[in-house]
């Protein structure tokens, strides 16, 4: 496919603009693409963001640390548990709180369950963007089990408020572990179904192989992280490179693909689901006894200073940067959102692709808009 840029074409010739979004079936959330099209070929793509800006970072500056728990999960509503846990870990790092091992294991289990749910949704949403509606609902059927499971311990289905400074709110019991094990067995069976229904489908292969190639260099230049980066052949995962919680205890692999196309990103996500299931299984088998929360006062007052905590959400490396001035209210809280970098690499790779490919690439990058806007 030849790359055409805006400079190669006489502007009076035949270009027109198309507003894809903010209200559009495939720009889930409210993302706005301003496309310059030549027929159906995208010449230039601009991403306009900010439609769901709620000012979470500013909100943090006006409330005590404990009051920010619910906000953290509402940034990326698809990996809310991971964001929630990450926030607690950032504050624990700032205060130097030692978390009991059992709580750390429970955090790993719930975060990985959340990651599986998020990847299922991401993969299936991508497949739906390509036009296959049925696999989407099959994926949601599996995801539903995770939501039910997490609901038993957290009380909510999407925007969890489960982690606490120094531990977690509710302990997990044998029933939870049994249900999780049943889910793991079921999920492993389902991979065969997904391979038959999606991965082996000739139309799916035609639509994804070689489409939206993000080369290694471009990915690194744009600060792409997560499965999108690993689909471009870079072996980087915060869980391995800077282990937090207790990821250093578990034996798992970082799946990577060299191709960098939509298919590679899809396969990396599926492989990551498999790895997450392995982590959950190991964590449940070796779940230590003990308290689920350290002895932490009701309202914490971190010492003056700052801290940066990085963790791997379902979309990539998230960073929480917290500056404390020694009061009960954060002086500044900054979030590094992976979707932002992952989305804006599209402006580099989209030109020359069809509108239909744009939907596929957008789906394969798996962006949540509220996380970009915050």
């Amino acid at each position: 496919m030849t790359m055409k840029t805006i400079d190669d074409i006489n502007i009076n010739e035949r270009l027109y603009q198309l507003n894809l979004g903010p209200q559009h079936p495939s720009t889930h959330g409210v993302l706005h693409f301003l496309l310059t099209l030549d027929g159906e070929v995208v010449v230039k793509a601009e991403m306009l963001i900010g439609y769901t800006h709620r000012g979470h970072e500013k909100m943090a500056e006006n409330r005590i640390y404990e009051q920010f728990y619910p906000n953290s999960a509402r940034m990326d509503y698809l990996s809310g548990m991971i964001f929630n846990t990450g926030y607690c870990e950032a504050v624990e790092k700032l205060c130097g709180i030692e978390v009991p091992k059992r709580a750390r294991y429970i955090r790993v289990i719930t975060s990985e369950l959340n990651r599986v749910a998020s990847h299922l949704l991401g993969v299936m949403d991508f497949v739906m963007g390509i036009g296959a509606y049925t696999p989407f609902l099959y994926g949601w059927d599996d995801r539903e089990i995770i939501l039910d499971l997490l609901e038993t311990i957290t009380g909510s289905r999407l925007t969890y408020n489960y982690s606490r400074f120094g531990g977690v709110r509710v302990d997990i019991d044998q029933t939870f572990c049994d249900s999780a094990r049943r889910f793991i067995d079921r999920m492993r069976e389902r991979f065969k179904l997904y391979n038959d229904l999606i991965t082996g489908n000739i139309i799916f292969i035609k639509r994804t192989v070689g489409v939206g190639v993000i080369s290694k260099d471009v990915a690194l230049d744009y600060g792409v992280t997560g499965p999108t980066l690993r689909g471009s052949g870079v072996n980087y995962d915060v869980r391995k490179s800077e282990p937090y919680s207790s990821y250093e205890d578990f034996n798992f692999e970082i799946p990577t693909k060299e191709e960098g196309d939509c298919m590679a990103r899809y396969l990396v996500r599926l492989a990551e689901i498999e790895q997450s299931l392995r982590i959950i299984e190991q964590a449940m088998n070796n779940l230590p006894d003990g308290p689920i929360r350290a002895d932490v006062p009701c309202f914490i007052t971190p010492p003056a200073g700052d801290c940066y905590h990085s963790f791997e959400s379902a979309r990539g490396a998230v960073g929480y940067y917290i500056v404390s001035d020694g009061t009960r209210i954060p002086y500044r809280l900054k979030v590094r959102a992976p979707s932002f970098s992952n989305l804006f690499v599209m402006s580099k790779i989209i030109p020359g692709h069809f509108v239909a490919d744009l939907v596929a690439i957008f789906g394969s990058i798996d962006v949540t808009v509220p996380e970009i806007d915050r």
Binding site: H24, P25, S26, E40, I130, G131, A132, T134, Y138, K206
Partner: protein
């Protein structure tokens, strides 16, 4: 009592003659059948999709939701029909009216059974092809008149797609016509009393089914209304009953395409135990079921892949098939 003995029928019969009477009655039957059939097919589509997707589908209105589409039709009739300010109003208004013409006219020549055919034409198949091309025109009109970029892209895709896929469709039909030596639909069906053309012409049959799926804009060739790209393509700006007319035309086109396939390849009314009409309708609905099944299983092709598939794969194969058929018929 014999209906023809009624005085009024006698009068009309005497006044108009047998052909016109059959025509009028047939038209009335078609006008009743087309909306009911579309409503039924919408229900079938939703129900099959539901069961494929591990959910029950419509369940509320009537037993297993069978009346759901009728209720939906009532709702659509009650809705306001919005015309965009910048739309080309006459064209915008005409497009949904024109789209139902092929849906109704094509029924004229379909032989449901040896006797149930409104009009026997020597060029029955050509009539169906000619009139089903009108739907492309109305889609273009609707898409252009909406003055919406999604609609326009959908309309342009529709025209390119229908031109590309009509060629292999006709070529695969030609191989059947060469075998039967006739354009008459009843003649083609009569020739299949012992062996279905599907056995003799499997390649043509498969190409015909693929192309008729594309002609009726069904997945995986539904680029004209590709939801994830074009919102809903050429009928994005249509509301209420106008939108419903497009849907009605689509589902009727599906039924006509399946009927054509039944006539050409699946032995028409031939079958044991039941009368001709039962077999015909059963076969046609089975083929409709297959297209619904395909829709809810496969992803969508991209536009360039769609065109490549037609021009580089289907047309050469169907030409070759036509050539082989012609040689074999000549030699035998």
């Amino acid at each position: 009592m014999n209906m023809t003995q009624l005085p009024i029928i006698k009068d009309i019969y005497g006044f108009l003659g047998p052909d016109l009477l059959v025509g009028v009655v047939g038209l009335l039957l078609v006008l009743i059948f087309v909306p009911l059939n579309s409503a039924f097919l919408v229900w079938v589509e939703r129900k099959v999709a539901g069961h494929i997707q591990l959910r029950p589908g419509p369940m509320e209105v009537g037993p297993h939701g069978i009346l759901q589409s009728l209720i939906d039709a009532v709702k659509l009739m009650c809705k306001e029909m919005i015309t965009p300010d910048l739309a080309d109003k006459p064209l915008f208004w005409m497009a949904p009216c024109i789209v139902v013409i092929p849906a109704i006219v094509c029924f004229v020549v379909i032989p449901f059974s040896p006797v149930m055919q409104i009009r026997e034409l020597n060029v029955g198949i050509l009539l169906i092809f000619a009139f089903s091309s009108i739907s492309g025109l109305s889609i273009m009109m609707g898409g252009w008149a909406s003055n919406n970029k999604y609609s326009l892209i959908g309309a342009v895709r529709a025209v390119a797609q229908s031109i590309a896929y009509e060629i292999p469709l006709l070529l695969s039909t030609m191989s059947v016509i060469i075998m039967s030596n006739s354009f008459k639909m009843s003649q083609i069906v009569s020739d299949q009393s012992t062996v279905w053309n599907f056995i003799l012409q499997p390649v043509a049959a498969i190409i015909f089914i693929i192309c008729s799926t594309a002609e009726t804009n069904r997945a995986p060739f539904d680029l004209v209304e590709a939801e994830s790209e074009l919102v809903s393509g050429f009928h994005t700006e249509y509301t209420g009953m106008r939108d419903a007319l497009f849907f009605m035309a689509e589902y009727t086109a599906m039924f006509i395409a399946s009927s054509m396939a039944v006539v050409l390849f699946f032995g028409g009314w031939h079958g044991p135990f039941f009368s001709g009409i039962v077999w015909f309708v059963l076969k046609a609905y089975f083929l409709v079921f297959v297209t619904v099944w395909i829709r809810w299983t496969f992803p969508r092709l991209r536009f360039d892949q769609l065109m490549n598939f037609a021009w580089k794969v289907l047309i050469p194969i169907s030409l070759l098939n036509l050539l082989v058929t012609a040689i074999v018929i000549k030699v035998l």
